[in-house]
């Protein structure tokens, strides 16, 4: 990450001379003061309203509180994992469907993908929560959350796989044709193995999206992390603290996943550049 921001800095700024360095130092000190001031202002606002009272925060170190939130985290991971396991292969199938030479099919798949990419997942969740029961279709709460996650994620990952298939060098296809492979064999033995590796970082970021989407369990009362937080608030009344703790957990997991994805991507780019 730092290397990247350095190149952007190099595009815009020359290496500073002595005068420039002095100016940067002064601006650095000023900006530290401003940032520290803003943080202090925020903390002061918290303290003024009694939200910094240590008693309101240390409760999150209690074993039973941690277990309660841990249960929510398990729910989140279960929903995310289940959705990913179904959605990613489905996304690949949809991507192949879009490439298929069968008239009608590729258009149908395109409409399906654009539809689920263009509407909010909350709407799909409401459809499962409110609309389908009116027609006698009742699914468990877990699936009320996970099926919409699958529908939305398969549409976005289909686009990811499609980009991956397109990113495989044209020469690979030509070489496969030259040694007499059929279209089917070309796709499955030459293009796809490379495409799937190329999109691996994007799939990890799709996992981040899924993890964020799983917060909609809040709406269907499936006990994932955000919903467990809500329950906890109704018991402890420590609203800010609970939701801050919950948010920090989400941020930490997603931060790690994003990091892994970017690292993987950087490594692949480096390998592609060296070969």
């Amino acid at each position: 990450m730092s290397a990247k921001s350095n190149t952007a800095t190099q595009v815009l700024f020359d290496a500073p001379g002595p005068k420039g360095r002095r100016r940067i130092l002064i601006l650095s000190i000023l900006s530290v003061l401003v940032i520290a001031g803003l943080i202090a202002l925020g903390l002061w606002q918290f303290a003024k309203n009694g939200q910094l009272d240590p008693g309101r925060w240390v409760v999150y170190l209690r074993a039973d509180y941690l277990a309660f939130l841990g249960q929510g985290l398990m729910g989140t991971l279960k929903a995310t994992g289940m959705a990913a396991v179904v959605a990613f292969p489905l996304g690949l199938v949809l991507a192949l469907g879009r490439h298929a030479q069968i008239p009608g099919l590729s258009h149908l798949v395109a409409v399906w993908i654009e539809f689920f990419r263009g509407i909010p997942m909350l709407l799909v969740v409401y459809a499962f929560l409110l609309a389908l029961p009116a027609y006698g279709v009742n699914v468990p709460r877990f699936w009320m959350l996970v099926i919409p996650m699958i529908l939305v994620s398969s549409a976005t990952t289909a686009e990811v796989f499609r980009a991956g298939i397109r990113a495989v060098d044209k020469g690979q296809r030509e070489a496969a044709a030259a040694i007499g492979l059929s279209g089917f064999d070309t796709m499955f033995s030459v293009i796809l193995p490379q495409a799937v590796r190329l999109v691996l970082p994007s799939l990890i970021l799709a996992l981040v999206s899924l993890l964020k989407d799983s917060t909609l369990g809040f709406v269907v009362s499936y006990n994932e992390l955000q919903f467990q937080g809500k329950t906890m608030v109704s018991i402890t009344r420590y609203l800010v603290q609970t939701y801050v703790v919950v948010s920090v957990i989400y941020i930490a997991i997603n931060f790690l996943l994003t990091r892994v994805a970017l690292m993987l991507d950087a490594r692949m780019k480096a390998r592609a550049a060296s070969s």
């Binding site: 595009v11 909010p120 976005t156």
Partner: protein, 232 residues
Amino acid sequence: MQAISENIPLLLQGIGTTIALTFLGYLFALIVGTALAVGRVSPIPPLRWAATVYVEIFRNIPLLSLLILIAFGLPDVGLTLPYFWCGVLGLTLSSAAFVCENVRSGINTVPIGHAEAARSIGLGFFGTLRHVVLPQAFRTMIQPLVNVFIGTVIGSSLCSAIAVMEITGVTQRLNIQYAQAVAMFLVAGAVYLALSLGGAYVGGVLERFASPADTRRRSPDRELDVTAGAQA
């Protein structure tokens, strides 16, 4: 259909609220995000760190968690905003992180040699920016910024969870009242699709407009943007 015809004013109001949330959120996100990107590429280390921390927090927090924290948490620390503005604030904070990343990577796509060449022919900082860096960076930024717009459209639906009566909230309420679910959800879905596709269309036009003639047909066949679609 009766549920729709009887409630046209309410539906229109919902659509208006969705549009207002989206456009205000996106507009502020563009401003904040660009300012953050300037911080992230500036030679001043503390600004770079602050902008990086901002991006890591707001790109990784689920939007629903953020909205709930703003709408229900801020009153507890003595700041009460109307729910509509809580929605705008949440959308702005979240989308700004993605805008920042897109602007920064847009600047990154400009080869360093171009900037060096511009400086060597005597262009100053703003001259380099205006004539060399920004025109090239802007073109590559359009598509990702359209994606952020669509993310903002979709994200605005979550504001119904904090009691903003936008189109998802309106249709949900009408659905409870009339139990004509399919029609209701089709209306809401159509609104979101129209906004998303409209945004994509405008982006396409802008992109064609911003490209010099000789690069218009250059297909981005071998480019793979890992972060595309990372926002949700």
